[in-house]
């Protein structure tokens, strides 16, 4: 099966990932970040309007159902990204007019009735602009829902199938919005995830190492969708992406150094403590990575036992805590990154689109609003000039922006 490269004239589909202060873990310490506004709706309205100025298809909210923790308490060194995403998109529906409003919400911890009701309501209020990212939720959520045993992977996906069917049936029984039903979004690249995505997913939030990996995934998923009687174009693949925009290599290097400086040693210690469920707070970052200390007594920290092999693999001979942490940070949580001036960023995006490796991106900005504004003012015009991005919205539904047909 050959790859299915985008036809000339195909547009990029862009989602903007709404995190409180930005995609960089140190963004909350950025001088331009106004911390007292981070939890006010005005902050999100301004960000969504900025994304709408850049003609993004949608803004996108993640969802978590537990605090991030280290050593038995909250991870106090990082910003919160966990306000209720449906309250946020409902509020944004009243303050924006064209841009799509997508939110993650758990299939494990909400009933079909609740999910159907909330999304159907916001879809009407917004004139057909909503998308639901169907997530099954992480293991840490269980203890907030009376479930010491968070359901295992296969069970969560079987619940997700049942929930998705039930939600769609409830939607079909209710009032129709201008886009008929919310767009179904899905992330997760396991075998269960792929089966779910090819059955229900209309936009797939993915993480790829390289363009070949993207192309193989996209080809496979389009084939799987076809086998299930769907059009291959009914599934849009949107990898996560965060650009480092700088006109010269010196500017990029300065920006990298600036953001690296935003991560203080206590933040590194805190995040590593969370990752390994181990207390790093008194360790010197320049000392050798304390792998033996971590593995010692691992059986008493059941949360991470299953990750043992992965953790051990990540640590390289000669690593200090600092070199390990730096290498982890540069992976930007598995999502794509590129650097350069506006033309180079556009080249990267174009290569992925026209290489058949994606249909667009879900983009993070290092900091909100500074780096989003830079993208909107400098990169978006280049994409528009190349005919890769809309100059204005052609419609006012998310389904329309994404080029998706209404469900039958």
């Amino acid at each position: 099966m050959t790859a299915d490269p985008a036809q000339p004239g195909d547009l990029l589909h862009l989602g903007f990932w709404m995190l409180t202060s930005g995609g960089h873990v140190g963004s909350w310490r950025h001088p331009a970040t106004q911390l007292d506004r981070l939890m006010t709706i005005d902050h999100y309205i301004e960000t969504a309007r900025l994304a709408a100025r850049g003609k993004f298809d949608m803004v996108f909210f993640e969802d978590t159902l537990a605090v991030r923790e280290r050593n038995g308490g909250v991870l106090g060194e990082v910003a919160i990204n966990s306000l209720d995403p449906l309250v946020q998109i409902a509020a944004l529906a009243g303050a924006t007019s064209d841009i799509g409003l997508a939110a993650s919400f758990s299939t494990t911890y909400h009933s079909p009735r609740v999910l159907a009701d909330k999304f159907a309501t916001i879809d009407q209020l917004s004139g057909g602009r909503t998308g639901w990212n169907m997530v099954t939720s992480g293991a840490a959520s269980g203890r907030n829902f009376g479930n010491g045993d968070h359901p295992e992977h296969a069970v969560r996906y079987s619940m997700a199938h049942e929930t998705a069917d039930a939600v769609r049936a409830l939607w079909a029984s209710g009032p129709r919005s201008p886009q008929v039903q919310p767009v179904l979004i899905q992330a997760g690249m396991s075998q269960w995830g792929l089966d779910f995505a090819s059955t229900y997913g209309e936009a797939i939030f993915a993480a790829f190492r390289d363009i070949e990996g993207g192309r193989a995934f996209r080809t496979n998923l389009r084939t799987m969708a076809t086998e299930k009687g769907r059009s291959p174009d009914a599934v849009k693949i949107l990898p996560g992406f965060m650009p480092f925009i700088g006109s010269t290599s010196a500017e990029v290097a300065d920006k990298r150094a600036f953001y690296r400086e935003l991560i203080r040693p206590n933040m590194v210690r805190g995040i590593l403590s969370e990752r390994f469920n181990f207390d790093f707070m008194d360790y010197d970052l320049d000392q050798p990575f304390p792998l033996d200390d971590i593995l010692d007594g691992l059986e008493d920290r059941p949360m991470i036992t299953s990750d043992r092999g992965r953790f051990v693999k990540e640590i390289q001979p000669g690593d200090t805590i600092a070199t390990y942490a730096e290498r982890m940070a540069s992976k930007v949580s598995g999502h794509l990154t590129c650097e350069g001036g506006p033309e180079e960023i556009a080249d990267f995006m174009q290569a992925w689109l026209q290489g058949g490796a994606c249909d667009g991106f879900i983009m993070q900005a290092l900091q909100i609003p500074v780096e989003l504004e830079l993208f909107v003012d400098q990169v978006v015009p280049v994409l528009q000039k190349r005919g890769l991005h809309r100059r204005d919205y052609a419609g006012s539904t998310l389904r329309g922006h994404l080029g998706l047909e209404a469900p039958r």
Binding site: W28, R29, L35, D36, M39, T40, I41, Y44, I45, T64, L65, A66, V67, G72, G73, V74, L75, G76, E77, V78, A79, I80, S82, L83, D84, L86, V87, Q88, A90, A91, L92, A93, G94, A95, Y109, H110, S111, R113, V114, A116, D117, K118, A120, T121, I122, Q124, L125, R143, N144, F145, G146, G148, L170, W171, S173, G174, P175, R264, N266, M267
Partner: protein, 286 residues
């Protein structure tokens, strides 16, 4: 007097209610979230009204078959994002003991972050003081919830809590009863909460006459101290809300019983309610 307006569906009428300086709108009814068609979730409608109005209090009915963690996060997020305009009215979907425990868990989760837990110290790279964020470690007959909530304490401490008279407990800020139940809502029976009576009204015919009678009935009950205000429920939202505002509100204002504009402060403050203390104040560590 304190005045609320009940809205149904997608909340049409909220802008008019705000122009008329109603204290709050109340979204949803006893069937919300339990039965009835999908597509009119009161909390989502109230959240939408957060940006289409500016000052008016926004109260949503929330069925308690939604897990307490979800309820606390949604209501708390709403209060944070709106700067303290949120109220909520839990609707019981099970037995009374379960509903009571559900509310207890939600209030604990609101309190799981102390008021000054967010320190925002850029220089020291400390976003939150982890010694002021607490697990609630709730384990009861119906719910087991560890916490903490993944959102800081709402600006009102606890968003304004409305309960129906039949289910009102010690934490109710507002108790709501039918207008025919005023005799069961004396100050002896409801010692501290704000007592509101709900009146369903229809001004579709004999408008002037019915409007005057409604204003008279409201002012009499209020001046006799039988309640502290009303929730007005239009029989027909499209027609009855504008008629209420044109025909009844001027009458109440002329009697000095209805406000012309909003006072300063969040919803709780404007209702004259104290901000609840945090039950975890003084607890050290998670």
């Amino acid at each position: 007097m304190i005045l609320g307006l009940r809205l149904d569906g997608l909340g049409d009428g909220a802008v008019l209610a705000e122009q008329a300086a109603f204290d709050f709108v109340l979204l949803g009814d006893p069937t919300s979230g339990v039965e009835g068609p999908v597509g009119a979730d009161p909390l989502s409608v109230a959240a939408f009204l957060m940006t289409t109005t500016n000052r008016i209090g926004l109260v949503a009915c929330i069925a308690d078959d939604w897990a307490p963690f979800n309820v606390a996060r949604a209501v708390g997020s709403f209060d944070l994002l709106s700067g303290g305009r949120c109220g909520w009215m839990p609707l019981s979907t099970g037995d009374a003991a379960r509903s009571e425990e559900h509310l207890d868990v939600v209030l604990k989760l609101f309190d799981s972050w102390e008021d000054d837990a967010l320190v925002f110290d850029k220089a020291a790279a400390v976003f939150a003081d982890r010694t002021k964020v607490h697990r609630i470690r709730h384990s009861g007959a119906f719910f087991t919830v560890d916490g903490p909530l993944n959102a800081p304490r709402p600006p009102q401490g606890w968003p304004v809590l409305i309960q129906p008279l039949a289910a009102a407990g010690e934490f109710a800020d507002i108790v709501l009863a039918g207008v025919d139940d005023l005799d069961r809502m004396s100050r002896e029976q409801v010692p501290t909460a704000i007592r509101l009576a709900e009146i369903t009204y229809d001004l579709g015919a004999d408008t002037a006459e019915r409007g005057a009678a409604l204003a008279e009935r409201m002012s009499l009950a209020y001046l006799e101290g039988r309640c502290d205000g009303f929730v007005l429920a239009p029989a027909n939202a499209g027609a009855d809300i504008p008629l209420l505002i044109d025909q009844v509100m001027p009458n109440l204002r002329a009697r000095g019983l209805a406000a012309l504009s909003y006072a300063e402060g969040d919803f709780r403050t404007r209702l004259g309610l104290a901000r609840p203390a945090n039950q975890f104040d003084g607890v050290v560590g998670p």
